[in-house]
């Protein structure tokens, strides 16, 4: 059986869902953050698959999509840096990285 676009899309969707459920299930903010990275990368997989699928008239992949992936990776790296800085600041102030411990703002 040959591998079609839908197989890639499904694999990517499953990875996205795994990341999503990690965000919902894990208590450690650091792990939650890893799961968010998982979701972004899942999107990248779809994007590259689409890029390979949507061949241009010259028979080359659509590089606009790969450039988009490049930007996503860059932005995600910046986001990780800022996110980890916030988590470190939180840990310094509260000695915790557990989501249950940060619920003073409510209602």
């Amino acid at each position: 059986m040959s591998v079609t676009l839908n197989h890639y899309l499904l694999a990517s969707g499953l990875l996205f869902a795994i990341g999503f459920s990690g965000v919902l299930l894990r208590r450690n903010i650091l792990t939650i953050f890893m799961c968010l990275e998982l979701m972004l990368n899942a999107a990248n997989l779809s994007l590259v698959a689409f890029s390979r699928f949507n061949l241009g008239p010259d028979g080359l992949p659509n590089y606009n999509a790969q450039i988009l992936v490049f930007f996503i990776i860059t932005v995600a790296a910046a986001e990780v840096a800022v996110g980890l800085a916030i988590i470190v600041a939180l840990y310094r102030a509260r000695q915790t990285t557990h989501v249950e411990d940060i619920n003073s703002l409510k209602f």
């Binding site: 999503f20 965000v23 919902l24 208590r27 989501v99 249950e100 940060i102 619920n103 003073s104 703002l105 409510k106 209602f107």
Partner: protein
């Protein structure tokens, strides 16, 4: 006509209010003077407008101009608004003068007069507005300024609660009003009255659509003119200073609903279903309020219920396709009801804020002038032949007689009840012996108080005389009145109404002329007159029951569930909603995810 005149009438009180609020709050004397001056100037201008012809071009400046919507700030001067201008500025000016005495000792007089001018501005805005949007804006502004006036003594809890209740109840009505306006706009593409009148006939709207639109607009009148089931705010609003009650709750604001209905009578006549609903709501309010009035002890509350009842007449007249009769009654009622309120105010003022009629009595001797003027107002209200109320009420009853006998029967019964409860009030307050220390020292007020009373008494007598009333009402409205008169049954109705007046008055006179307490509240007294017992037993059995049932409905169903329930439910929902927000990050992520799944389903897979 000089188009500046209407602008002056409208903007003069606004300017006064702004001056007072921004500069003169600390100078009560100046504020009072300025406010009274502006009210009198307004009256003079209104008279000037009345004598000048109708303007040739529409008086308006552009405000909102969209492809689908044009809302000008425009003034409509026609016979209808001219007569309403006279009522509003006339009663307004007298109330201003009267208030200088009544509020003389109030600490925040400046604020009071500022708000009074603000109220005049908003009320005149309703009268002069030439489109629905503007009318709605001033409609709301009237709500706000009356809120401020009712709540003038906001340190009193009951006053604050009453102000809140008035505000909330009116919002319910205004909600319907707004929807109705939007419905009409969406159908016709205009909100300007003359354009709407010209266009509506050619639109071929379905009967259901028109009925819905008219009834929604009517909701606004139900709220503002305190008709069933949104009447609950008016009696409570008596917490405000008495001159305010005279101005707002007798002559002007509550009449705005009737005025608005008269303004759009060209629409109402298009929907017979809506007409009959309006007629029935009006007449039921009239009966219901009159029943409640028979059992009240607070002089202002009696007058408040009586106002409700009279407004019911007017609304009913609109439903009976007799807007002329409605406006005529509005016109006469404004004078005698303002007179009664101001008279009551004079009594309350003289008796150091005593409002219970059973603590008054014998005031005829000590307050001679008040007594005389009050008597004229009382007779006008209960339809004593020859006085203004007789003529206007007669016309409404006649219209009912011609169109719907059940409505007429209820109207006649109301007339009887009116004569009954007003005679009760009059007899208990003015005749007999003083029942409290305060009542022994009653005295007439100073000239600033008695002069408005005298003037209003005069008007209460003559305003209804056909040659005066009809002239003032202008040609178009008078035409409608003649048509009703020519419709037949005039003699029958007039004699029945007169009979009701005599019967109601006589029963009350017999019951109350010697009473120390209300004979209907207690078991029949051991009385020499056997006939008294019969009366008392019979009347207390039927009327006590009716009154207490109405009271129960009023207190629990309408006030409790409709007003409090609605606002409570809104608040409660808000209170519960915020518990979704329980601070846990993952709960938010979960709710977010749930939203995502549901939304994707709705969007892509449904």
């Amino acid at each position: 006509m000089d188009p500046h005149l209407p602008w002056f009438v409208l903007l003069n009180p606004l300017l006064t209010a702004a001056l007072i609020h921004l500069a003169l709050r600390r100078a009560p004397a100046a504020a009072t003077g300025l406010s009274v001056l502006s009210a009198v100037l307004g009256l003079i201008t209104a008279i000037g407008i009345w004598f000048s012809g109708t303007p040739s071009a529409p008086i308006e400046i552009s405000w909102i101009q969209l492809a689908s919507l044009r809302i000008p700030i425009g003034l409509l001067v026609d016979p209808l608004s001219k007569v309403m201008l006279l009522v509003v500025t006339g009663v307004g000016a007298l109330v201003h003068i009267y208030s200088t005495v009544y509020m003389a000792k109030d600490e925040s007089k400046g604020r009071f007069f500022g708000n009074l001018s603000l109220f005049m501005f908003s009320m005149l805005g309703i009268v002069l507005a030439n489109n629905f949007a503007m009318m709605f804006i001033f409609w709301e502004l009237v709500g706000v300024s009356s809120y401020l006036l009712i709540g003038h003594w906001f340190t009193r809890d009951s006053a604050a609660a009453a102000a809140n209740k008035a505000f909330l109840t009116n919002r319910i009505g205004d909600f319907g009003f707004m929807l109705g306006i939007l419905l009409l706009w969406s159908a016709s593409g205009t909100v300007v009255f003359p354009e709407l009148a010209a266009k509506i006939g050619s639109l071929n709207l379905s009967a259901g659509f028109l009925t819905a639109a008219v009834l929604l607009v009517f909701c606004g009148a139900v709220g503002k003119s305190a008709q069933l089931p949104l009447h609950v705010w008016l009696p409570d609003a008596m917490e405000g200073p008495t001159p305010v009650s005279a101005l707002i709750h007798a002559a002007t604001m509550v009449a705005a609903g009737v005025y608005m209905l008269a303004r759009i009578s060209f629409l109402i006549t298009l929907s017979p279903a809506a007409q009959s609903v309006i007629a029935w709501i009006g007449i039921l309010t009239a009966v219901f309020a009159a029943l409640l009035a028979t059992q009240q002890d607070d002089i202002k509350r009696i007058l408040a219920y009586s106002t409700l009842s009279q407004l019911g007449y007017m609304v009913s007249a609109i439903g009976l396709a007799a807007p002329g009769a409605a406006m005529f009654h509005l016109f006469t009622h404004a004078f005698f009801k303002a007179l009664l309120f101001l008279g009551a105010g004079a009594i309350i003022h003289a008796l150091h804020h005593e409002q219970n009629i059973w603590k008054m009595g014998g005031l005829a001797k000590s307050m001679r002038l008040t007594f005389l003027t009050f008597a004229l107002g009382y007779l006008a209200l209960i339809g004593c032949p020859g006085l203004s109320g007789f003529f206007s009420k007669d016309l409404i009853l006649l219209a009912a007689w011609q169109q719907s006998k059940p409505v007429f029967a209820l109207g006649l019964f109301t007339a009887l009840l009116t004569a009954f409860y007003m005679t009760r009030l009059f007899v208990v307050v003015f005749l007999g012996q003083p029942r409290s220390a305060a009542a022994e020292h009653g005295h007439d007020g100073p000239v600033a108080m008695t002069a408005p009373l005298t003037l209003l008494a005069l008007l209460s007598v003559v305003a209804g005389w056909p040659f005066i009333g009809h002239t003032l009402m202008g040609h178009d409205l008078a035409e409608g009145l003649h048509k009703i008169h020519a419709g037949g049954g005039a003699e029958t109705v007039m004699s029945l109404a007169t009979a009701a007046f005599f019967v109601g008055g006589a029963i009350a006179l017999a019951l109350y002329s010697k009473a120390k307490r209300d004979p209907l509240r207690i078991a029949p007294l051991q009385n020499k007159f056997y006939i008294d017992e019969i009366y008392a037993a019979f009347i207390s059995a039927t009327q006590d029951l009716l009154a207490s049932v109405s009271n129960w409905i009023d207190r629990w169903i309408l006030d409790g569930m409709l007003v409090r329930g609605l606002s409570g439910a809104t608040w409660g929902t808000g209170f519960l909603l915020r518990f979704l927000q329980f601070g846990n990050l993952q709960a938010y992520a979960f709710l977010f995810g749930l939203g995502v799944v549901v939304l994707i389903y709705l969007m892509a897979l449904r």
